[in-house]
């Protein structure tokens, strides 16, 4: 009997015990009708070939292991970045259970959102009644300052009109007339979560800015972070930099406190976020900067229409991307970049110089949202690495073009390939046929690591199987240091593992590296 009270074995060791191994082998043999081992092994080998890669890339309809989610997830995340705002998703209720779970699994934090719980009758008659009752219940139970409405694909397919529904609900007294209920249509069959983020933020700005008089406050800046699983670390780091510079700024959408509440005995359903009044005032800012272009295309257009200067970045991390961001902030605000920040920059460069021999010429595969992939590819090239495969399932042609331009700007990008719209099963073929040293992505990449042996560095949303990484910044010079260290740790750990066999390879098991 393998189990004992002294040393309790859970699944990881338990099923490796002989009793279970025998049981499972017999189950397979007698009851599963499996393919012959050789057939399985042959097919396994075949999937590693160029021939399989060609079949794999010839796919037109089937998507396998995509690295993207659907629009309303982005809208729910966006809403979480405003003061006492309850995300309200109009449509089927199961979706909301999924968004909440997904966000909680990454942040290890509560994630609140409500659904209008539409079912078959609403599919036939429309969800107006659900909206009327839903807003009333949410308003009364959860005491929000704002309810931000988005939609599931069900409500989109039947064509529910949020604007008129919300007006109707206000007529019915579900919420007070002047209560803020911004909305965004977020069909899951268009774009991805980054577009849902864009739509939701734009919806909120429209709600507060439309018809308002703009009095430009020179030198003030709005910052829109975009969908970012590392918002907890990143937003705080950027605030620190902006404070050091003495810039007058407003974060439009900031979920850093919402997804990082303390444990002190009190459950805070709402915490932090952009104040409603600050959203109103943000209309007057001279400029709005987006940290992630592909998260804010429509929102920035709207800001331009409102008369603001706009600029966008690709998840500014590393040396030059941070430089550019700070220079832009400095140009608009008229504030100098202080010496303290220059020293930070120097420290990052110093660290990169110290470690360059371990990084030079390393090959990487990078996947994630478009802006993240751009940022990582750029930083990797700064370290002398080669971003061999750059993949974004939700990457557009425009992104592909921008990527190619970036890669062409450095000799380290010469061999790089850009894969817009491809999924992680395509990445599997890439890693087998054109292998790399390191894979940068999220938790889903662990299956690629298992199958291809490529070490995975988890640096983007969602990270389910490692804890607390998102609490540390990736953006800015400090963030660059964090990324650098994560990469180096992975390289050194692997080298130690590969050279750790006593009396066989351990001559290279160096104490100092």
């Amino acid at each position: 009997m393998p189990q004992s009270a002294e040393k309790v074995l859970d699944h990881a060791p338990l099923f490796r015990e002989p009793e279970y191994r025998k049981m499972l082998a017999e189950k397979k043999l007698n009851f599963e009708c499996p393919h012959q081992d050789q057939v399985v092994a042959d097919q396994g080998e075949f999937t590693k070939t160029w021939q399989y890669r060609e079949k794999n890339f010839a796919r037109e309809a089937l998507v396998i292991n995509p690295a993207k989610a659907c629009q309303p997830l982005g809208a729910v995340f966006a809403a979480a970045g405003f003061e006492r705002t309850m995300p309200f998703v109009h449509g089927s209720q199961g979706c909301v259970a999924y968004y909440r779970s997904h966000l909680s699994r990454h942040f290890k934090e509560p994630a609140s959102a409500v659904s209008s719980s539409m079912t078959e009758d609403a599919a036939v008659f429309g969800g107006l009644k659900n909206m009327i009752d839903g807003l009333a219940n949410t308003y009364q139970l959860y005491d929000p300052k704002m309810i931000a409405v988005s939609t599931t694909c069900m409500a989109e397919v039947i064509g529910d009109d949020l604007h008129s529904f919300i007006e109707n609900a206000k007529e019915e007294g579900s919420v007070p007339r002047d209560f803020d209920v911004p909305f965004a249509h977020t069909p899951a069959f268009v774009g991805s979560h980054v577009d849902g983020y864009d739509g939701a933020v734009k919806g909120i700005l429209e709600h507060f800015w439309k018809g308002q008089e703009r009095t430009e406050a020179l030198g003030t800046i709005n910052i829109i972070p975009g969908f970012d699983g590392f918002c907890v670390g990143n937003n705080r780091e950027l605030r620190r930099l902006l404070d050091l510079m003495g810039v007058s700024y407003t974060f439009i959408q900031d979920a850093s406190d919402q997804f990082d509440t303390p444990s002190d005995g009190e459950y805070r359903m709402y915490d932090g976020g952009t104040k409603i009044q600050d959203v109103r005032n943000a209309l007057n800012a001279e400029a709005t900067l987006s940290l992630q272009r592909y998260n804010t295309r429509k929102t920035l257009e709207f800001c331009e229409e409102a008369g603001q200067v706009t600029a966008s970045f690709h998840y500014p991390l590393g040396v030059q991307a941070t430089d550019e961001f700070l220079l832009e902030v400095s140009a608009i605000s008229g504030k100098e970049i202080p010496e303290a920040i220059r020293l930070e920059r120097g420290r990052l460069v110093d660290a990169m110089a110290d470690s360059q021999s371990w990084l030079h010429g390393k090959k990487y595969a990078i996947y994630g949202d478009p802006d993240f992939v751009y940022a990582m590819a750029r930083f990797i090239m700064e370290t002398g690495g080669e971003p061999t495969h750059c993949l974004a399932t939700n990457g557009t042609q425009a992104w592909e073009g921008e990527m190619k331009e970036l890669l062409a700007s450095s000799p380290f990008g010469k061999e790089a390939q850009v894969w817009a719209g491809k999924d992680l099963w395509a990445m599997r073929s890439l890693l087998f046929t054109e292998p790399v040293d390191l894979l940068i992505g999220n938790s889903y990449g662990k299956y690629l690591e298992r199958d291809t042996g490529t070490p995975l560095i988890r640096l983007t949303f969602p990270i389910f199987d490692r804890h607390h990484h998102h609490r540390f910044a990736l953006m800015g010079y400090q963030g660059g240091l964090r990324v650098l260290t994560s990469i180096l740790d992975k390289i050194f750990d692997k080298l130690d593992r590969d050279t750790g066999e006593t009396g066989v390879t351990d001559y290279s098991y160096d104490l100092t590296r």
């Binding site: 309809a61 909680s104 039947i158």
Partner: protein, 500 residues
């Protein structure tokens, strides 16, 4: 090892009154029917009686805007019933999200070479775009099936798990499935589990069960030599290896588990099910439909059992053995005796550390009742329990388990659960990922009771040891004593306050 205790029914009634007072009238009226205090545990334990003691309204539409914890029919079919069938490819048919959020989250363990002969921890989706909504997705589905055949030729079959838009745009996935099944000579199962159908996951279970009946049974000649002790285990999804920790016991008492539904299952195990002698059903809620069908159509008896905690395991093993007669009964007694020292050692180690601790549960199919005795085996007290998607027959079955005064909540809302927990202040809450962090912020230990909080197995004797360990480590971790900053402590409490 039934524990005798009574809960504070008056407090619970007051808490119900308080939460209801916060709703708009219309919602309060509707929610009132779902909340109750269990009465008279004695009467409740009388076998076979239809009970109303912890009766609440159930399986009714959730109220909009209240933060229900429920999921949808797709979750019930793809996530629960079909998803674990390991040698089939399950297409999440529709937009990308549903498949993405449910990808690899249920922990139904399996053995196989993923991507080659098994496909459990993969996400296959038709990734619907606007043009698919406008022009329909049937052509795309055909092409997807061809591409699956090309890239994953060792698959034993395919299921089409419909997401919301499919039913709304009028796609005919049945026709596509029929046509392509003929072409590729494999099983293809269309499942109409669009998320807007029904009121919760529950209808998805039912639809998935019906799909087994309509699209798998009697579709192929099944060559299989049956035996006198053949059983199917039905409704064990092998979370963290549960079904394996159960199978080992059933084999030890002399039975032959010819199919496990659906954790670690192959299509073959489903196809041959009608040849078994008995269906053993663990999760009654999600798979009773197909058991009833097999009883009617093939005359296979079915029996509910409970493999959580030694009291129930022992009782269940004996009940199962009785069905098969003396030979099995004799072996069963040997098995019970064999594991007794393990059980005694686990209880001796953990009961003193857990005795008297109170627990609130809010889970899905069977666990709000099935795990109760496992806690009681450790000397713990269940003060409240409820289901996401139960039906009336589940609450009837619950009455056998709960004590007088237990707080009962059906389809609880986020607000209610928070207030109940605040009011009761249990020592442990067992619920899901969405509930975990709010509860822990309040300083109350928590275990996820859907996924076993990334641990498991919890079934069987081997699982009970893991369960006991996990409950102990949740409750007795020192972190719960660190919540208050010493400078915020009231003078009477803190030794840190220096004497004047």
């Amino acid at each position: 090892m039934s524990l005798e205790y009574e809960n504070d029914g008056a407090l619970h009634a007051k808490l119900i009154e308080e939460v209801l007072s916060q709703y708009p009238d219309k919602a309060a009226k509707r929610r009132k029917k779902h909340l109750n205090v269990a009465k008279s545990g004695d009467e409740a334990s009388r076998e076979g009686e239809v009970l109303s003691e912890c009766d609440v309204k159930s399986n009714i539409k959730s109220i909009p805007g209240v933060m229900t914890i429920r999921g949808c029919a797709y979750a019930g079919s793809k996530g629960v019933v079909w998803g674990p069938v390991k040698d089939m490819v399950h297409i999440s048919h529709g937009p990308v999200g549903c498949g993405q959020y449910s990808w690899s989250q249920r922990r139904n363990y399996y053995v196989g070479t993923t991507g080659i002969d098994t496909f459990g921890t993969m996400q296959f989706t038709s990734d619907f775009q606007e043009k698919d909504i406008v022009f329909g997705g049937d052509k795309k589905l055909e092409q997807i099936i061809d591409e699956i055949e090309e890239l994953f030729p060792l698959n034993k079959g395919i299921t089409v798990q419909s997401e919301c838009p499919i039913g709304l745009i009028g796609d005919d996935t049945e026709a596509v499935s029929r046509k392509k099944a003929k072409e590729i000579e494999k099983t293809i199962v269309p499942v109409r589990c669009e998320g807007f159908r029904g009121v919760s996951q529950s209808l998805g279970h039912h639809i998935a069960n019906d799909a087994i009946r309509d699209w798998v049974f009697e579709k192929k000649d099944v060559a299989f030599e049956d035996g006198p002790y053949d059983v199917n285990v039905v409704g064990d999804y092998n979370i963290g290896g549960d079904a394996w920790a159960s199978r080992i016991l059933l084999e030890e008492i002399g039975l032959r588990v010819v199919g496990n539904w659906s954790g670690d299952a192959t299509l073959a195990e489903i196809e041959r099910a009608p040849k078994a002698k008995l269906n053993l059903i663990h999760c009654y809620r999600s798979m009773n439909y197909i058991c009833r069908h097999m009883e009617e159509k093939y005359g296979i008896a079915w029996m509910e059992y409970n493999f959580f905690g030694p009291s129930q395991i022992e009782a269940s093993l004996r009940k199962i053995a009785k069905h098969f007669g003396p030979e099995i009964q004799e072996k069963t007694e040997q098995v019970v005796a064999k594991y007794r020292p393990l059980v005694d050692a686990v209880i001796a180690k953990y009961r003193p550390r857990l005795e008297g601790n109170t627990v609130m549960l809010y889970v899905g199919g069977l666990r709000p009742r099935h795990v109760i005795t496992a806690y009681e085996d450790l000397g713990m007290v269940i003060v409240g329990t409820g289901y996401e998607f139960a039906h009336n027959d589940d609450y009837q079955r619950t009455a056998h388990y709960v004590k007088n005064g237990t707080l009962i909540y059906d389809d609880v809302t986020g607000y209610e659960l928070e207030k109940f927990i605040e009011g009761v202040r249990p020592n442990l809450v067992g619920s899901g990922i969405k509930e975990k962090y709010p509860v822990q912020k309040m300083g109350i230990p928590f275990r996820q009771m859907h996924s076993w909080d990334y641990s498991g197995p919890y079934h069987g004797y081997d699982g009970f040891a893991v369960f006991a360990r996990d409950v102990d480590l949740a409750i007795n971790n020192p972190v719960w004593g660190l919540f208050e900053a010493p400078w915020k402590r009231r003078p009477s409490q803190g030794r840190a306050m220096a004497a004047e």
